[in-house]
């Protein structure tokens, strides 16, 4: 049995897809649309800080956001190759896409810890 990288990337993509599906619509609805439009009030800064206070919550936020980024990176990799005919450059495209996801994950860690 020969190991390959692809199944692991696919697992990250799938896990990220689930997390993104379950969490992102409501978050962007609240923080991106309803609060800026004044439909619901912004929570106080203290309340927001308290929300991500527990280390366990912070860890979960980092993992969730990183998974979402891997999901996006995987799709952007394949879609850009299919739309633009970049199949030959797959290795480079893959490094750029997943690299950006890793960078985003590191950013999340530095912001929260």
């Amino acid at each position: 049995m020969r190991r390959r990288l692809e199944p692991y990337l696919w697992l990250l993509f799938s896990g990220g897809g689930v997390v993104a599906a379950l969490t992102l619509p409501v978050l962007v609805l609240l923080f991106g649309v309803l609060m800026p439009l004044g439909v619901v009030a912004w929570p106080s800064a203290a309340h927001l800080r308290a929300l991500v206070d527990a280390p366990l919550v912070r860890g979960a936020v980092v993992v969730a956001l990183t998974l979402c980024l891997f999901h996006a990176a995987h799709r952007i990799r394949f879609t850009s190759e299919e739309l633009l005919g970049l199949r030959r450059w797959d290795a480079l495209v893959a490094v750029l896409c997943y690299g950006a996801a890793v960078a985003g994950g590191v950013t999340a860690i530095t912001l929260l810890f």
Partner: protein, 137 residues
């Protein structure tokens, strides 16, 4: 020198169609597929936006963040992100039963049940997150 060959015995010269740049515009199903995949760009944007928010919370600059978030172009972008993430959620949760064939005692759990469960979970998680964010504020 070329010798004429009888019909049907010419050199084989198969015709290979050139790459079709507009393949995704040829069929509705392909256009929907590409739209589904492109939601990922706005998924990435949504994560970036949430990271900005987390940064503002950490630095205590939530006021500035709220002002930025209220700019019309930002609201427009986030409305688009809302549409894209919702489309992603619907398509992703609907496709899940293709990958997970659940058999109970020889009986295959029908796709609509798995999909129904997925959408219920989506609703529950959304309600929980909304409650956590909005309570007592």
């Amino acid at each position: 020198m070329t010798t004429a060959r009888p019909p049907g015995h010419e050199e084989a010269r198969p015709y290979v169609r050139p790459r079709d740049r507009w393949w995704f515009a040829r069929r509705r199903s392909l256009a929907v597929f590409v739209l589904r995949e492109l939601t990922s760009v706005l998924v990435a944007w949504t994560v970036a936006y949430l990271l900005l928010l987390l940064g503002a919370v950490a630095d205590g600059t939530t006021e500035r963040f709220a002002a930025l978030a209220a700019r019309p172009w930002m609201v427009a972008l986030n409305v688009l992100a809302l549409a894209a993430t919702a489309f992603h959620a619907v398509t992703f949760l609907n496709l899940a039963p293709k990958a997970t064939v659940v058999r109970l005692d020889g009986w295959r759990v029908p796709a609509w049940m798995i999909q129904g469960g997925n959408h219920t979970a989506w609703l529950a998680v959304s309600a929980l997150l909304a409650y956590l964010v909005l309570r007592s504020s």
